[in-house]
């Protein structure tokens, strides 16, 4: 059998975000059209009561409890979020002992353990200060959270972390799927984890990319994003392996594409060239035409540039038949490295629950576009193929196609 033609199935998923501590809670919030955006309880910043965020509603101590840990010792918030999502993903795939089958763990992060290290960074620099905080030094990078999660769960065959800004976890899913297709592993757990930090809030604020209101993707009056936090992992398995162990396929990862726009370090091209190519090639790979797509979960950050660029790309690709599209970032905020995986799960839910999620906070169509997002919750709406977009700094664009299994 040609390994390259092996289908890659989604057989498990787990998540935590501002709208829920697991997949079912996220689903209920999406259906109830209940946003998780508000002011931060946990980040120490002067912007706390000015810039709204999509914060997970648990303290780090509460997260440790959810993850079944006695306390938070040695674990950053980034790791704890990841661990909660990972445990649910394995459980939902019916995996009791992850170490039983060689499994790849492809994680994604943009600032690793910065959420905790930024609190003690200047103590670390002070030679006079000693204490247990020094044990957190190694959590400064992106690998720490990945390895902590790998060590807790026994995922050791391939362990690595991808960082391509806001497209990181979409790239993690692609890479895991390719390891499976190459026959290197039968199973890969892929996704990302991201905690809110003073560092990133100030970073995006200095770029004047944050709206002081709740973000308004694809609205003419939009003025930037709201940052968010969360984690999400999807269990990917080769079709033959999933069949052998009688796993329950939730959907198929049928196409993907990563392109670089080569346009500007932080801005997309106005005509959406990179977005267009990523979506077009991902569909082509899945053997699908634009007419086969019922829903696009757009990147839709609500920054001035993204929405023009992505909207133009949709118009170019789908012509006069643009399918229902929405940004779910008004629910969760922009969770950076976790966004691709969180939205991949929302795409699977759209297929399995036959629903299309509303784009909240939209009132006025953008001057530059002739299309507007879906603002209603559509129930009993047949969804077979979803395109999920993630675009990042450095021109890194990624599109995933998620399909009903057994199409």
């Amino acid at each position: 059998m040609d390994r390259m033609a092996e289908r890659v199935l989604i057989t498990g998923m787990g998540m935590i975000s501002a709208i829920g501590n697991n997949v079912e809670e996220n689903f209920r919030s999406l259906r109830a059209q209940r946003s998780g955006i508000g002011y931060s309880r946990f980040v120490d910043t002067i912007h706390r009561n000015v810039l709204p965020v999509g914060e997970v509603k648990c303290s780090s101590e509460e997260l440790a409890k959810l993850a079944g840990l006695p306390d938070t010792t040695g674990f950053t918030r980034t790791t704890l979020l990841g661990l909660v999502a990972m445990q649910e993903a394995l459980r939902s795939a019916g995996i009791n002992d992850a170490a039983e089958t060689p499994t790849a763990f492809i994680n994604a992060s943009t600032v690793g353990g910065m959420c905790d290290t930024e609190k003690i960074y200047f103590d670390i620099l002070d030679p006079q200060k000693e204490g247990t905080f020094l044990q957190l030094i190694d959590t400064l990078d992106c690998a720490d959270c990945t390895q902590r999660i790998a060590d807790e769960t026994g995922l050791t065959a391939y362990v690595t972390t991808i960082s391509t800004a806001c497209s990181s976890s979409a790239n993690a899913l692609m890479y895991g799927a390719r390891l499976i297709r190459a026959g290197l592993v039968d199973r890969a757990v892929c996704g990302g984890t991201e905690a809110l930090t003073r560092f990133t809030i100030n970073g995006f604020n200095s770029l004047k990319n944050i709206d002081k209101r709740h973000c308004m993707p694809f609205d003419n009056d939009r003025n930037g994003l709201n940052l968010g936090e969360g984690a999400a992992y999807l269990v990917l398995e080769s079709e033959s392996f999933a069949q052998r162990r009688k796993a329950r396929p939730m959907a198929e990862l049928s196409g993907w594409c990563n392109t670089n726009e080569a346009f500007h370090p932080t801005s997309p091209s106005p005509e959406g060239d990179g977005a267009f190519e990523a979506m077009r090639k991902a569909l082509e790979m899945g053997g699908l035409s634009p007419a086969d797509v019922q829903y696009v979960n757009v990147h839709g950050t609500a920054t001035l540039n993204n929405d023009v660029s992505e909207g133009r790309a949709l118009e170019r690709l789908f012509g006069n038949e643009v399918p229902a599209f929405s940004s779910t970032k008004p629910f969760t905020g922009h969770t950076l490295a976790a966004a691709g995986a969180i939205e991949a799960i929302y795409s699977v839910l759209a297929i399995n629950r036959q629903m299309i999620w509303p784009n909240l906070n939209f009132t006025t169509r953008m001057e530059e576009l002739r299309i507007s997002p879906e603002t209603r919750l559509l129930e009993e709406s047949p969804v077979k193929n979803v395109v999920s977009n993630s675009f990042g700094f450095g021109g890194n664009n990624a599109s995933l196609v998620i399909s009903k299994y057994g199409n």
């Binding site: 690998a143 890479y175 560092f199 100030n202 392109t259 450095g394």
Partner: protein, 338 residues
Amino acid sequence: MEIKCYIQASAAISPQQSFSGEYAPQFLPLEERNLLRAQEPGYAGFIPPNSLRRMSRLLKMGLTAALQCLRNANATVPGAIITGTGRGSLQDTEKFLHDIRTYEETALNPTPFIQSTYNSVNGLIALQQQCTDYNNTFVHRGFSFEHALLDSLLQIQEGNAESVLVGGFDEMTVEHFFIKSRIGYWKSALTQPADMLASGTPGTIAGEGAVFFLVGTQPAPVEVRGIQMLYRPAPDQVASQLAQFLQKQGVKAEDVDLLVIGRNGDTRFDHFYAVVEKALPSTATNIPFKQYCGEYDTAGAFGMWTAQQELLSGRHKTALVYNHFYGEQHTFILLQKH
């Protein structure tokens, strides 16, 4: 691998005089601290002056090594750009952390934040060369460059790219050197590179560098036969996995005549290297490359460059690169001369 993959060109910015293409590794004297600094080339022929002014050190090093590699290959647009970096631009991360404190979160310059993003070098290479194809960045200590290489080989096997620009880069700042010294990364006494292996002390000497390769299907003297990574293995697993890896590549242990090894004189983790040395013929030439580049997350790229240079010299035929990063991320890379 079904499709053979060759190293078509390389370029290395390192503590050595490597950028010119010369290969004459030296023991460089250290005076102040256990840190081997990269010798930076002139950037003017690579980066336009306007961009050069804004760019931080690691961005300049990474971009320039990438561009020189493409020049060495007489290539302009690779089929993909895939990199690894353990720390990204530390200088920018530190600057933004300090700015947040100094200016109390107000009126911040966004440049350090943008440049601290781990994929910024990748974006710059793509932008400068107008490469719109696959682009990825791995950020996982001793599995950063290594996964970038695996991803490159997969891109080629999948038929998505005929050539891939693959590299690894990291810098060491004085501030980060101090931070890591607090948890035992470096030897506490000033130790010369010539003495590091026999020092009998924990810790090692820090290093830095930016090393790029153009790998692809077009035949060239050095072939990348394969790569295997092991996460936190026990020493006996290193031995058994090495045997399996060589067997899978159709190579007998006695055929390996060059071992490029990550020995760094850290007594806590030396025993892994001894396992691999014991598994190979004692007649194989043994080159501990970290005497020349120091220890850093993506030092493995300098190890592969060293093996490539040695094979090009015609002295050896089959090279194994074995490296690990503080006992956690272990990698075998097999190269062969044609």
